[in-house]
Point group: C2
Chain length 226, copies 2
């Protein structure tokens, strides 16, 4: 045992560093997509739309690192939980990257039409989703289950806003057919942002599992869409 | 080593059995939701809408089994890949259950309106998604990478249909505001079905990784929505 420990701890730290790097890239991609939507800035949206390649590369690299750590070091207890949690967080961050790309794509389509009245609550949804992602990753670094639990609470706010956005846009569409196409893109964007929140929630749950070996999933209602 | 091997193989088989059970439940939930939509049968939709609890329970149980197998047996090479693949497939199947619930929920809302012209290509999308799920799980059981690769090809068909459905429904909505609400639900359903196909694709990729230790992810373009 003694022989392998320092090497293993270095590799575990390396894994965490890469995961945080990936988290930073995913967060930045979400920020670009939402800012591009708000400011109608095509260059930001193009950057977000084609910006997930480094995230996809890190996804594969981190998966390989997790696999090798399991295979070569056969870790136990806390270390094993940390690696399993890292592999899951890796999957979630990759999906966040995809969703940021999807958001940018819908925002580019949205820009082809006159804007719908002040983007309803979508900028706020973007801020909440980004905050959740940041807090979930901070909770991971600091092994902070209190912060992780606050992320779980934020998800309810995001769901409520998604439903509100849907209702408001539906009203516009029913009143004025010219708003159907841009409203549809905003509805899709609100759902992408809500799903980014879901992935931040998954990460927070993994942090709680990693720190306390406590499974908090499926404690409430099924994750049904509005 | 000799001592632990038979016990480990039994547990690995037990894990696979539970995973297939979960796959069967997820597939059945998708079938109920789509059939309920096509036949406008509220009892089927209710069953699907509230039917994911056994899947959620299996999700937790299978995750624990994977974790214990890793912790107690510290497997290597093929066995390690099989457990890591099982943990990933578990996550995908749980999401399929959520998406079937979301489909049933949207179908119930859809039933409150007069039907939109013959559900466009949605029943076909449902069949393709179910077939992909079934084939991906068969490929897992038989360690059949050829079948897994066919699942990857099917995903392109599903994406193309999703785009076609979106365009057709957009046309209806632009022509007749009375179709806006039911069309929106159909668009959401087509996206849920397409995402079920994405999860089947993930499972197929895990099978290929498990059998051949080959990573086929991120080989093409980013997974951007239409």
């Amino acid at each position: 045992m003694e022989r392998a420990v320092p090497h293993f701890q270095d590799e575990l730290e390396g894994l965490q560093t890469r995961l945080l790097e990936m988290g930073g890239l995913a967060e930045e991609l979400v920020r670009l997509a939402v800012q591009g939507l708000v400011t109608r800035d095509v260059s930001l949206l193009d950057k977000a739309h084609h910006g997930d390649e480094p995230i996809n590369q890190l996804h594969i690299e981190i998966d390989n690192r997790c696999f090798k750590l399991l295979a070569l070091h056969q870790p136990m207890a806390t270390d094993l939980r940390a690696i399993v949690a890292s592999a899951k967080i890796n999957t979630d961050l990759e999906r966040v990257g995809d969703l940021a790309v999807n958001t940018a794509e819908a925002a580019k389509r949205y820009n082809n039409h006159p804007p719908v009245k002040r983007l309803v609550d979508i900028p706020q949804m973007g801020e909440i989703a980004q905050g959740m992602l940041r807090d979930a990753l901070d909770a991971f670094v600091r092994r902070d289950t209190g912060l992780a639990r606050r992320v779980l609470n934020e998800d309810d706010r995001l769901d409520a806003l998604k439903t509100k956005v849907f209702r408001e846009l539906l009203n516009y569409m029913l009143k004025d057919p010219a708003t159907v196409e841009p409203s549809l893109d905003l509805i899709l964007i609100s759902r992408h942002l809500e799903r980014i929140g879901d992935h931040a929630t998954n990460i927070a749950e993994d942090v709680i599992f990693m720190v306390s070996a406590l499974d908090v999933r499926h404690a409430g209602q099924p994750d049904a869409d509005a």
